[in-house]
Amino acid sequence: MRAFDYVRAGDTGEALRQGAGEETRFIAGGTNLLDLMKLEVMAPGKLVDITRLDLGRIGETDEGGLRIGALVTNSDLAADARVRRDWPVLSRALLAGASGQLRNKATTGGNLLQRTRCYYFYDRGEPCNKREPGSGCAAQGGMNRILAILGTSDHCIATHPSDMAVAMQALGARVEIEGQDGAREVELSEFYRLPGDTPHIETVLAPGELITAVILPPPAGGRQVYRKVRDRSSYAFALVSVAAVVTVEEGRIARAQLAFGGLGPMPWRDARVEQALIGETPTKALFDRAADILLADAKGHGGNDFKIPLARRTLAAVLTQATEAAA
């Protein structure tokens, strides 16, 4: 770990002032950042501790949604009665992630910004364009069982590891951001960037900007499912996960919001898949068509080829569950 300066900010204004410099990172739970710093995969020169900021609350918005402070822990968010009642897919996704100990530390803002679990990203002995731009991508031609099949580029095939963000993506969440120039809101669907030839730039956050909250729109109702498929029962990242919010009215799908984990460099949402479902009668053939659309551009890299049929089958099972239950 490189030696670094440490500052504890008392409020958001101070955090933004302190966070403005080069090589500066905000730290809250630190569940991912500290590991990466120990390995010197990330080596910030300065950490701004934001845990004293007043961002630890869950409040209701005027429109009937929720405003989740960036410092709300995964444990607290998963246990919130409103979340459990009205946005259950989020609670389930949170509880599918990490371990109890980690969820007690991990925060909402930090979770959105966690880095990929690609083996080669963690290994300074190996080339990785995300860690060291221009060095190459060892995962292609290497072990890529856990890596992405959608949205990849020749430069990077990493996945985003979050469960929470997948549910938020399905729910249509927005991210509240503050910078020295003021506050803004970004749709979560616009928050992440595809790797292209700059896989080291993962989000639209400008240097020094701070996530202050995540906004959930009003309850979508319907049937909500989070299904995570992984290599052991718990404490493993998703190979494929599906978050679904589905409403069936009079035998037809009236609403379908779907997001996927383990498939792409960001919590994956594809409006075309949802459009194909809406207005239709739920059948196996329909779910297959939805999977065809989702996976039309999917590209395996050998070790992860199985994710293509796995995603297809998991999507069908989730849609079956979501539509049967509602019927």
Binding site: R2, A3, Y119, Y120, G125, A138, R232, S233, L310, T314
Partner: protein, 736 residues
């Protein structure tokens, strides 16, 4: 007065006296708590890295990222970094951990990097953080020294076929050709890690030309010689302390690179040096379990009687290592068949060194073999339980030697009864998306004894046991306390057991499941010596002397030992040497394991719902620690069957998933309630305690029960472990 006498036993013949059964204290075999348990759960047991001698410096190992000749480094720049005290580039550093019981140095660096991940330097600094940062800044220049092969099955892999390790009896090809039923498949098991919870750590300190190393090791008397050989000093200049060890599973059998680096650096700096390995370094530098490719051929007649057995294995290893995974160790005697072939082939490739990992040989060999047996039983249309019962050997089928005890049939029958085994065709039971099925397997493991010494000291106030034996979480403190308490008639609280110090009499150490029986026998011998002396002093025959609760009872009289002993301290040394009893008969432990699994029809995920093991391993010394050992073994079986695999990069052999996030040991949710049952037996050939190894038995075969249950559940047969969901899903898709 202090007088130490020694009782030797060369174990040549069965001991039918079964003296433990005649003792009166009543603690042997009970589920007594570990005497050190409270220290461990309250954080007061000091593990290797938890001592903090004054002025201790910290070392951090530097890893080779490529293979070849070391031609230089930026050590000068590193030396200038904050806090750096020394950059150790000593050629005596070892490239990987020593093999178990080597007693001499493993291959030393000598200017080369043999595999990606080898420690090639150690940076020592005032603080751990400074050392780590400087080590990460260190660049070692390595010139490639040719092309290498990284996969045992790849073109160009250099294959050794040691003559002594090949067996051929009868005519297997003929047996296969004329068999009513046969199977001939390749099975594969992956490279695996011990993944002990406590990472390797050492603190070395020199004084007057002698070094004391506080480390985390399993076999101290061997480790002492290994360190002496590496350093070029006499073994009497080396002392090793390992009072508590946070799991070993083979990974701490041999001296590892951190110990050598700490000792070399401490010598240079003339102050204590600690080197703790990062988890990722443990994975790479400590011996792993080799991957295996196992061709298994089985032939049987129409009644399901085996006529031919073939088990030909390919394992991998670095050049110049002596060990190779003894895959067929159990195959030599588990089943009878007149026509037999065992083949053993070693590919010399550049993956990190392989070595003994919990139940070397049988863990993977019995597992694959028991899958093949299941396949043959199915082909023959016979209940796999019944199939095994028809093939119980009456003697060692390869050598004709008798078994010391043969409990295979008993464990199969009792295990089946406990589990409620009924054989069904595959794909009969469905619960929603889940297929439910059951499977079973036999378990077998060789039983070994190792030379061991222990001292027992008796005073009027109590008993003290002293030996360099280790407790690697297995329960040595408990069982040695129990043996002494039982033999000398004391409450366990009156017995103090001191372990893990090479200044004490050299024990067997912990490994190969030989520790409990071997070192307990040494304690037993010392106790017998003390009983004789007590009897002589009282004037009775030893056999007529009853010792209980600190009293000597004889001829209806009860005398406190404090009265007999007065202020005296009696010391006795027990010394066990293995003898002909280990060669004249085939000694083994046996078990039967049954599992119920659910397999998801959509994703291929497998969940183990029920698992039950029945084991016969001689006398059980402590029911609680024995059961814990079996729980651990069964959980390893789940890992072997479903989750654990070290992935090696095809381009340079390096371990890709070398952390506990991506190397998947089973988590709580992967493990159902486990049933463990012991068939108590007295194996007189084993030793005077009639106790045998336990720790490794339960891993042997338990993975096969799970894999066989997957086939029974959903009809998909997996032959490449672990049975990850993608393999099962692809099988489900292929079935349609």
């Amino acid at each position: 007065m202090t007088l130490e006498t020694t009782r030797h036993l060369k174990h040549d013949t069965p001991d039918r006296d079964r003296r433990l059964d005649g003792m009166a204290q009543g603690v042997i075999g009970t589920d007594m708590d570990r005497p050190e348990g409270a220290l461990k759960v309250s954080g007061q047991a000091t593990y290797a890295a938890e001592a903090h001698p004054e002025s201790m410096a910290h070392g951090y190992l530097v890893r080779a990222a490529t293979i070849g000749r070391i031609t230089g480094s930026n050590a000068d720049a590193v030396r200038a970094m904050p806090g750096v005290l020394h950059v150790l580039e000593d050629e005596r550093m070892i490239r990987n951990a020593a093999q178990g019981m080597a007693g001499e140095s493993p291959v030393q660096k000598q200017g080369r990097s043999w595999y990606v991940g080898q420690p090639v330097a150690c940076v020592v600094a005032e603080s751990f953080e400074q050392a780590r940062h400087a080590a990460q800044a260190m660049m070692v220049t390595i010139e490639p020294d040719g092309t290498h092969v990284f996969d045992a099955e790849a073109e160009g892999a250099e294959i050794e076929t040691p003559e002594k390790k090949q067996v051929s009896q009868g005519d297997l090809d003929g047996a296969m050709a004329s068999a009513a039923f046969s199977v001939d498949h390749d099975y594969r098991t992956p490279s695996m890690s011990s993944a002990a919870m406590e990472p390797h750590a050492s603190i070395a300190q020199w004084e007057d030309g002698a070094v004391t190393l506080r480390g985390s090791y399993q076999l101290l008397r061997f480790n002492k010689n290994e360190l002496a050989d590496v350093l070029g000093v006499s073994p009497d200049k080396v002392r090793i302390l390992s009072p508590y060890v946070g799991g070993g599973f083979g990974s701490k059998l041999g001296l590892a690179p951190e110990a050598v680096a700490a000792a070399l650096a401490a010598k240079v700096l003339e102050r204590p040096v600690q080197v703790v390995m990062h988890r990722r370094q443990v994975f790479e530098t400590v011996t792993r379990r080799s991957e295996t490719k196992q061709r298994i051929r089985l032939a049987c007649d129409a009644d399901g009687k085996l006529t031919g057995i073939g088990h030909e294995n390919l394992v991998s290893q670095l050049p110049e290592e002596t060990f190779s995974e003894p895959v067929a160790q159990g195959t030599h005697f588990q089943y009878a068949a007149p026509n037999r072939v065992v083949g053993h082939h070693i590919a010399r490739i550049r993956r990190p060194a392989a070595g003994s990992v919990r139940a070397p040989g049988e863990a993977v060999g019995v597992t694959a073999f028991e899958i093949a047996v299941d396949e043959l039983a199915k082909k023959a249309g016979i209940d796999p339980l019944e199939f095994r019962l028809r093939n119980v050997p009456t003697e060692d089928p390869e050598t004709g030697k008798p078994f010391s005890s043969s409990t295979m049939e008993a464990t199969l029958r009792e295990g089946a009864r406990r589990f409620g085994w009924t054989h069904t065709a595959p794909r009969q039971r469905r619960e929603g998306e889940w297929w439910i099925g059951t499977g079973m397997a036999g378990a077998v493991r060789v039983n070994m004894m190792i030379e061991a010494r222990a001292r027992v000291v008796l005073t009027g106030a109590g008993v003290r046991v002293e030996t360099d034996m280790t407790d690697i979480g297995t329960g040595s403190y408990a069982i040695l306390t129990q043996v002494a308490a039982e033999m000398l008639g004391h409450a366990p609280a009156q017995v103090q057991t001191i372990l893990g110090d090479t200044d004490l009499p050299p024990a067997s150490g912990s490994g190969g499941s030989f520790g409990a029986a071997s070192t307990s026998t040494a304690v037993y011998l010392a106790c017998m010596e003390l009983r004789e002396r007590l009897a002589a002093k009282i004037g009775v025959k030893e056999g007529e002397l009853t010792l209980k609760d600190g009293y000597a009872i004889h001829a209806n009289r009860q005398t406190p030992l404090s009265e007999i002993m007065g202020e005296e301290e009696w010391r006795a040394l027990g010394h066990l040497k293995p003898g002909r009893a280990g060669q004249d008969v085939r000694q083994a432990t046996w078990g039967a394991i049954f599992a119920e699994v659910a397999v998801n029809d959509t994703t291929g995920e497998t969940r183990v719902r029920r698992m039950d093991g029945t084991y016969a391993c001689g006398r059980v010394l402590n029911l609680k620690t024995a059961r814990s050992q079996c729980h651990g073994g069964m959980i390893w079986g789940i890992g072997l069957a479903l989750t654990e695999a070290l992935e090696h990069d095809p381009r340079d052999g390096h371990m890709v998933n070398r952390d506990l996030a991506e190397y998947h040991v089973p988590v709580n949710l992967d493990v159902p309630q486990l049933g463990v049952h012991f068939l108590e037996e007295r194996d007189d050939w084993a030793n005077p305690l009639q106790a045998k190894g336990i720790g490794e038995l339960a891993i042997c075969g338990s993975g096969a029960a799970v894999v066989n249950a997957i086939e029974n559940a959903c009809g998909v047969r997996v032959r490449t472990l672990p049975a990850t969901l993608d393999q099962v899903m692809e099988g489900l898709i292929a079935r349609g």
